[in-house]
Symmetry: C2
Subunit: 284 residues, 2 copies
């Protein structure tokens, strides 16, 4: 990542911990722990870089950016629980239920989801924009979005045709939502929002395919989590169903699609374009 993106990422990291005191009890310590374990912060970076691309003062909205990462973090904590994916490691550190316990991890996830909406409600924006962003985000992560994707993932029993839908819901919806939140602030009209939505979905699906690829070809040490779990578990890893070459070709296709839509929007801000590329062609 270039200096610009690293600067934004550092601002998000700081914002994530503002007002959280791990000394104030187990719940807040678990929330703090989950947000401290370093992530790529891709959703807030997309949101902030798009604001910058639209010549808006991105860092004014770092609170809202952090809410997107907090939502992502809640979903990871709950996905890692024994009843779900049962993972012990995340980003090279013990998952929250391993570091604390299952009950605390459950509550920390719940509380982070709540905290994200507290942060959205506190955004320094006209109330109508805040309400619109709340509507977009809740739909992207709810019963017809990310949570539904997770439910379908749980039910997956090897039907290759279901994979694209799972990827779209589980991963692409929140990425789409992060871009649309910026579009509200930038005042995009419906036509431009539609183009951005298409870019977000292509980017999100491509990102999940890149993740599937790394899960098969990646290095566990670098990834900081257990890899190749999916092969035994009937998880919807596209590589297992379509093979490496097909998945690589699909990533290329989604990348071209995302770039085309962003091009139509007239967005040529290099850090934003480089972020899209990083998401789809990362090595860890």
């Amino acid at each position: 990542m270039n200096d610009y993106l690293q600067g934004l990422s550092a601002a998000v990291d700081r914002e994530l911990l503002v007002g959280l005191d791990p000394g104030r009890g187990t719940l807040e310590a678990a929330m703090h722990y989950a947000l401290t374990v370093s992530g790529k912060r891709l959703r807030p970076l997309l949101f902030l870089a798009l604001l910058d691309a639209c010549r808006l003062e991105a860092l004014r909205h770092v609170g809202l950016a952090s809410a997107l990462e907090i939502i992502h973090t809640y979903s990871l904590i709950h996905d890692d629980l024994p009843a779900m994916d049962d993972d012990d490691l995340r980003r090279g550190m013990p998952t929250v239920h391993k570091q604390f316990n299952e009950a605390v991890a459950l509550l920390a996830g719940d509380t982070l989801l709540t905290y994200a909406f507290e942060k959205i409600a506190a955004a320094p924006l006209p109330p109508a924009q805040v309400v619109e962003i709340m509507g977009i985000v809740t739909r992207c992560i709810g019963k017809e979005g990310m949570a539904q994707g997770q439910a379908l993932d749980l039910e997956f029993r090897g039907d290759a045709a279901a994979i694209a839908g799972i990827h779209r819901l589980k991963t692409a919806e929140l990425i789409k939502g992060s871009l649309l939140a910026a579009a509200v602030i930038a005042g995009f009209d419906p036509g431009r929002r539609l183009l951005l939505e298409q870019a977000g979905i292509a980017l999100g699906i491509g990102f999940q395919l890149a993740d599937d690829l790394l899960d098969i070809t990646g290095d566990e040490q670098q990834a900081g989590k257990k890899l190749r779990k999916d092969s035994g578990n009937q998880s919807p890893n596209a590589v297992l169903y379509f093979g490496l070459e097909t998945v690589r070709a699909r990533i290329d296709g989604h990348y071209r699609e995302a770039c085309a839509r962003i091009g139509e929007l007239g967005i040529d801000f290099p850090p934003f374009l480089s972020l899209m590329k990083t998401m789809l062609y990362r090595s860890q």
Copy 2:
């Protein structure tokens, strides 16, 4: 409950299921199941009856009322999970993780919380009021509210002095929040809000004490859940620490306090007063 309150309750019951189709997959079926299992709907009733008491058109806000019940329902689903209170029955029916499974119950709770925020965002109110209500509700149920109360409940190891704080956070905060949401719509000034807040806390703590009392003296068949679990589990049931008579006296005290504050506010709408009484002196 009188006809007026039963009418409101039926409207809430209908609203809770609008747009939810149990045929649309396991996740929505679990959400639908949890909302169908009949509850007392006390939080939405308090909210709606207070609006009526302020001569506002209560049923216009049944969507927001249902969001309060949806939040309560999410908290029950997660509290019932094996990692938390491990309950098999709720309101006479199998808990969500018993009826479905743990992963589905976890996701259904997450999705209901999200859905509640979606409903708040969609409320037919000026955006500034929606944002204010969102801020109030998230603070009441978050890391310094209901979720913190649940965390302290989990950590409870028999320290009687901690019980009042747990009751306040775990139970009273959302009840307070339900009243304050109505106060935003009714345009209460800060002084009136403070009185209402005090009434809400007294009502909420009294309600939890009444629940503790019923847990010891109640009938399992009528309650529709396992009672007297607390005695073995170091749960913060006030009766176990302070005795029946003291708890009854405290309920009376909280009832008087709530009535006094509501009286100072000039609210003399009989159904609202009767609802408060029902909450603190119920037999099931």
